[in-house]
Symmetry: C2
C-alpha cells in the first residue's frame, strides 16, 4: 500500500468507493428488471474489478478479445461470451479454451462466418456454442432483425452441427444521445429488435435460448426487458465524462482518474504543464462532439474534488496542458506550483485505463493498492 | 518465426527493410550535417529497434519516461536524456539509475524545478547533470531564449552544485507545417533559438557544452546546424501518415502497420468490418486536421501495397470499419471476404505502437519474428 503523495505519476487511480457504488447501481437495476447481468470486462481488464462485479451478482462475463477470455478463465471464470465477430484465424485459440473447460460462446453475423465455424468445429469434433449478432441500431455489425439472412445464418450453424445458443445486440448508437426520452426509446429499440430476431429464429424451428442486449446507456435507461434473458454493459463500472454528457452519471460518480504532477508552467499563457499527456489519457476526445467538451479531461484536486472550469486543454505524448476551459489566463504557477498533484477525469474510461499496466486502487484509508491489468491480444 | 497468414490479429507489423532504410536516411543526414544523433526511443520502446539505431551510428538515446531509461539501461545503453521536465517526486528514481552507473541527464525549465533538483542532489550527495529546456516555437514547455529567467535557472543549477550540461529544445510546432520552405524556416528557428540560449548562458559565465535540438520534420529539413552539438528525433524510425502529410516521407516509407482480419460486412453501406479497432490503431486522428484525412488509417493489402482510396473510416474498441474514403459503396464482401488479411498504416506510429505488447518484425523471407516492447511508467 502506498500513500497517494508517494505514488509516481502518471498513475491510474480507482476510487473504490465510487466503483462499488456503480456496481451496485447496475446490478440492482438488472435485478429489478428480472434479467441476468453479464459485465463487459474490456473496460477494466482487471481481475480485482471483475471479482467485485461477480460478488455483486453478475452471471458470467463478456470479453472483447480472446486474451481477456484466457486471462479471466485462468482466474476461475468459465461463462464467457467473446462479443466480437469470430475471425476464422482465431478458431484454434477458441477451441483450446473450450477444451480446457471454458464455457466460451462466440458470435457471427454472416453465412460465411457461420460456415467457417461449423466446418472447423466438425473437423475438430467440437460443438461450438454460437450466438448470432443482431444489428438493432445501424451502428456497426450484425444482421437486421427482419433480414432473410438471419435464418440462413441460423441454419448454417444449427444444420452445420453447432449449438445455436441465442442472439445478442449492442446499441452503440446510444452513445450519441443525451436525453432520458431518447435513451429510453433506444433501449426499447434494442430490446424489441433483438427479441424479434429471436422470435424469427424460433418460428423457423431453430433454437434460441438466449436474448442478450446492452450498452451502459440503454441498460440504465431500459423501462422493461420482456423477452430479454441477459444484459451486458462495461463502462458503467468506472463511468467517464462521455457518460456524464449522455446523462447516465455525474462527474463525481467517475471512479477512474489519472493522478499527475505539475512539472512546469507557461505563465503568460495561463498554462500549467503536467506529466500526464495523451499516452496516459489516451487520444480519446469523445467529449469533443458532445454538449460539454472537456478537452483531454476534467481537472480535480489531489483529493478528487472537481475544479470547475479547469481542463486538460491539450496534450503531447508525455505532457498535458492544464488551463481554464474558457481561455482565461489565470496564474497557474501560483495556483498549482511545480510538484502539485492533480487528478484528471477521463473522456473514455476504456481508452484511458488501457494505457496503464496497473491501477492504484484507493482504499477508504487513503492508501493505494496495486491492481494489475493486462492489454494486447 | 511465424508466417504472416498464421499471425493472430490484430498484430503490429514492422517492415524491417523500410525501418532500416529510415534509420539510414536519418543517420546519413546527421553525419552530413556534422552533429551527433540521439534517437528518441519513445516511438518504439523496443530494444531490437534501438539496437539497429545504435548500430547505424546513434550516440545515446532520448526517453520520455524513466521506465524507458530503466529498460534501456538494463539492456546496456548508458547515455540517456530524460526529455520531460523533472517532477520532484521522480528524483529518487533518477538517483537510483545514476547510482547504478547510468549517465542519465534530466531537464528543467524553471527556477522552482532547478531549486528542487539542486536541493535533492545536495541532500543525497549527487551532482545531477541537468539541461535547460528552451522554448523555440511556443509549442509547449521551455524558457524563451531571450527570457531573463534563463540565466536564473542556469545559476540555480550551477550555483546549487549541479552540472549544467546544456540546453535542449523540440520544435513540435513543425508538425503543423507541410511545405519544404516552412519546414526549413522552422528548423532554422529551432537551431538559432537554442544556440542563442546557449550563448546567453555562456555570456553569463555559465557552462553550456551541449546544444540539442530536434523533431523528425526539422531534423530532415535542416540546411545547416552551426552551434548545435546533437539532434534528436523519434518517429522517423517508422514514419506515419502524419509525417507523409507534412511531406517528410511517402506512405510506402511507413514501416509500421497493423495486420487485421476481415470479420464481417454491411454490404449496403459498403463496409468491411475488421478486427482492429481503436484499441489497435489508437484514438489518434492526427490526419483529421491535415490536407489528407486518412480516418483511422490507410488500408493496404496483406503484402503492404497501398489500396488507394480505401481507409479505416471509423472505429470502435475492437472493430474497424473499412470503406471507400470518398463514401462510394463498393461491394466490400466481394472484394474482401471474411478472413481476408489487410494491413493498416497508422496516423501516428508512437500512438499505435503503444497499444501492442510486441511487434511482429517481418524478415526478408516473409516470416515474422516477435520483438517485445513495453509500456507504462
Amino acid at each position: 500500500m502506498t500513500a497517494l503523495e508517494h505514488l509516481s505519476t502518471p498513475a491510474a487511480l480507482i476510487d473504490t468507493a465510487r466503483m462499488a457504488r456503480n456496481i451496485t447501481l447496475m446490478q440492482t437495476r438488472m435485478n429489478e428488471l428480472g434479467v441476468k447481468f453479464r459485465p463487459h470486462v474490456k473496460t477494466s481488464k482487471c481481475i480485482e474489478v471483475v471479482r467485485a462485479q461477480v460478488a455483486a451478482g453478475a452471471s458470467g462475463i463478456c470479453v472483447s478479445t480472446l486474451k481477456e477470455a484466457e486471462q479471466f478463465f485462468a482466474a476461475g471464470i468459465t461463462d464467457i461470451l467473446y462479443a466480437v465477430g469470430m475471425a476464422p484465424v482465431k478458431l484454434a485459440q477458441a477451441l483450446a479454451l473450450r477444451r480446457k473447460g471454458c464455457d466460451l460462446k462466440i458470435i457471427t453475423d454472416s453465412v460465411e462466418g457461420a460456415t467457417a465455424i461449423a466446418a472447423f468445429g466438425r473437423e475438430h469434433g467440437e460443438v461450438f456454442e454460437v450466438w448470432i449478432e443482431i444489428d438493432t441500431d445501424g451502428h456497426r455489425s450484425g444482421v437486421k432483425p427482419e433480414d432473410a439472412v438471419l435464418i440462413d445464418v441460423g441454419r448454417a450453424l444449427h444444420e452445420g452441427g453447432m449449438q445455436l445458443g441465442g442472439v445478442m445486440t449492442h446499441a452503440g448508437e446510444s452513445y450519441s444521445l443525451n436525453t432520458p426520452e431518447a435513451l429510453r426509446a433506444m433501449a426499447e429499440q434494442e430490446r424489441s429488435g433483438c427479441v424479434r430476431a429471436a422470435q424469427r429464429l424460433r418460428d423457423a424451428g431453430l433454437p434460441c435460448a438466449v436474448v442478450s442486449v446492452g450498452s451502459t446507456p440503454t441498460a440504465l435507461a431500459a423501462q422493461q426487458l420482456e423477452g430479454v434473458t441477459e444484459v451486458r454493459a462495461g463502462v458503467y463500472v468506472f463511468f467517464d465524462l462521455v457518460m456524464a454528457n449522455i446523462g447516465v452519471c455525474q462527474p463525481d460518480d467517475i471512479a477512474l482518474s489519472v493522478l499527475t504532477t505539475v512539472i512546469g508552467h507557461q505563465r503568460e499563457k495561463g498554462w500549467a504543464i503536467v506529466d500526464a499527456g495523451w499516452m496516459a489519457m489516451s487520444r480519446d476526445r469523445g467529449t469533443a462532439s458532445q454538449q460539454h467538451d472537456y478537452g483531454y479531461g476534467q481537472v480535480c484536486d489531489a483529493q478528487g474534488r472537481v475544479l470547475e472550469g479547469v481542463v486538460m486543454s491539450s496534450a503531447n505524448q508525455e505532457h498535458g496542458i492544464v488551463s481554464a476551459a474558457d481561455g482565461s489566463r489565470e496564474d497557474m504557477a501560483k495556483r498549482f506550483p511545480v510538484g502539485t498533484q492533480l487528478r484528471i477525469l477521463p473522456n473514455h474510461a476504456c481508452a484511458t485505463a488501457a494505457q496503464f499496466p496497473q491501477y492504484q486502487a484507493l482504499q477508504a484509508a487513503g492508501e493505494a493498492a496495486e491492481w494489475p491489468r493486462f492489454y494486447g491480444w
